[in-house]
Amino acid sequence: MSESNKEQQPKKTFAEWATFAIACSILSLLIGLVLYNWLAKKQEPPIISVTRNTPIRENKGQFYVPFTVTNTGGETAESVQIIAELRVNGEVLESGDQQIDFLSSGETQEGAFIFSRNPSQGQLIVRSSSYQLP
């Protein structure tokens, strides 16, 4: 042990320097990305938008309404609540809700609501109703 210390410690081998160089570049890349993210980040609260791009599909008498929720703001939103209401003649016939655990800046999540009545016969509203800040 002591012998190898004497041989190895004062002079690092080329392989050790190579490892160190790679390690340094990994670490500086990481720190660089954190700093970049810090500076580039928009200092604004979450902006949640819910969109329905995919068509509604029907299967065995049930109607699946896919939705996409995106956070275009700067901060992460927690417990994002999405609600869907089906109104016919101004009256809410069916509703559903859905919770997304975390939605960080720029993140998109997908899901679907399931209705037993055909949503195209009434007015379908899908929106986010609330979120928490972590």
Binding site: M1, S4, N5, E7, Q8, Q9, K12, T13, F14, A15, E16, A18, T19, F20, I22, A23, C24, I26, L27, L30, I31, L33, V34, L35, N37, W38, K41, T76, E78, D101, F102, S104, S105, G106, E107, T108, P134
Partner: protein
């Protein structure tokens, strides 16, 4: 264990040191990788807090490297310890990123901040494991007692037992948690194959590359279980069986479940179980 300063050996020594570090990281870090709360912390942490986390870990890893480290040599000098600290953190970050990617917690679609947060908060505990690697994996402390008493039971039985014990110690904490169904739900068949490959590689790395003082002795042992490749495969199967049993024990799996659920849960829990099993074989 004679060290040569020749060109070829310097690279293989270096590679062994890195794999030893990574193995220590896996042993210490894998239970946290299967903790969803840590992913969440990563999801909402702000860059300022990430920088503080890296700085704090640097100090702790530095102090650990001065006493343990992941190399065969002890780092006496401050500069060497600082260099090894940078390397330990880099190994931790790379390993954690690899497993997070394997478990589909990070995908190319994950936003940058979330990716960074997850990698940092999972990678820093890994770095602590890297810094302790020579402590857990050297086998130095057991060597004198081991070489005096030749094993009296069949070495194959001893290895199966050791694999089971190690797999239980690491995976028993993970088996009843919700992370297993959650991860299994997001992992498609090609990724299941990748998990199998990674489990085998990590297990091989821990037993046959990282356990440096023990390695020569292990390769001399007789028995069907003792060839490095067959031992790795057998130990993986034993760990998978142990994982399936643990999931069954905690009623996460029942006989009514389809076989595909059994397969996916077992493979997901099989990764930590294999790592534990490999560590178990080193210490027995």
């Amino acid at each position: 264990m004679k060290k040569s300063k020749r060109h070829k050996n310097q690279w293989s020594n270096e590679l062994n040191d890195i794999i030893r570090g990574a193995s220590g990281g896996f042993l210490f870090g894998i239970p946290l990788l299967y903790t969803m709360e840590v992913w969440w912390i990563g999801s909402y942490t702000k860059p300022a807090e990430m920088s503080i986390a890296i700085a704090t870990t640097f100090v702790v890893v530095f102090l650990l490297t001065r006493t343990e480290g992941f190399r065969k040599t002890k780092d006496i000098r401050w500069l060497d310890a600082a260099i090894d600290t940078v390397e330990a953190i880099a190994i931790g970050i790379v390993c954690a990123a690899f497993v997070l990617f394997l478990l589909r917690e990070i995908t190319p679609e994950t936003p940058l901040q979330q990716t960074l947060g997850k990698i940092i908060f999972e990678g820093l505990p890994f770095a602590l494991g890297v810094a302790l690697a020579s402590g857990f994996l050297s086998g130095d402390r057991y060597q004198s007692s081991d070489s005096d008493n030749e094993p009296t039971i069949n070495p194959t039985v001893a290895d199966i037992g050791a694999t089971l014990i190690g797999a239980m110690i690491i995976a028993f904490n993970i088996a009843p948690t919700d992370e297993i169904p959650m991860l299994a739900a997001g992992i498609s068949p090609p990724w299941q194959l990748a998990i199998i490959a990674a489990s085998l590689l990590i297990s091989y790395g821990i037993v046959f590359v990282a356990g440096f003082t023990y390695q020569a002795k292990r390769q001399q042992q007789q028995g069907i279980f003792q060839r490095p490749l067959s031992e790795t495969v057998m130990a993986y199967l034993v760990s998978l069986a142990a994982s399936a049993f643990m999931m069954f024990f905690f009623q996460k799996l029942s006989f009514d479940d389809p076989w595909s659920i059994w397969l996916s849960y077992t493979l997901v829990l099989g990764l930590p179980a294999t790592i534990g099993g490999a560590a178990g074989r080193l210490t027995v």
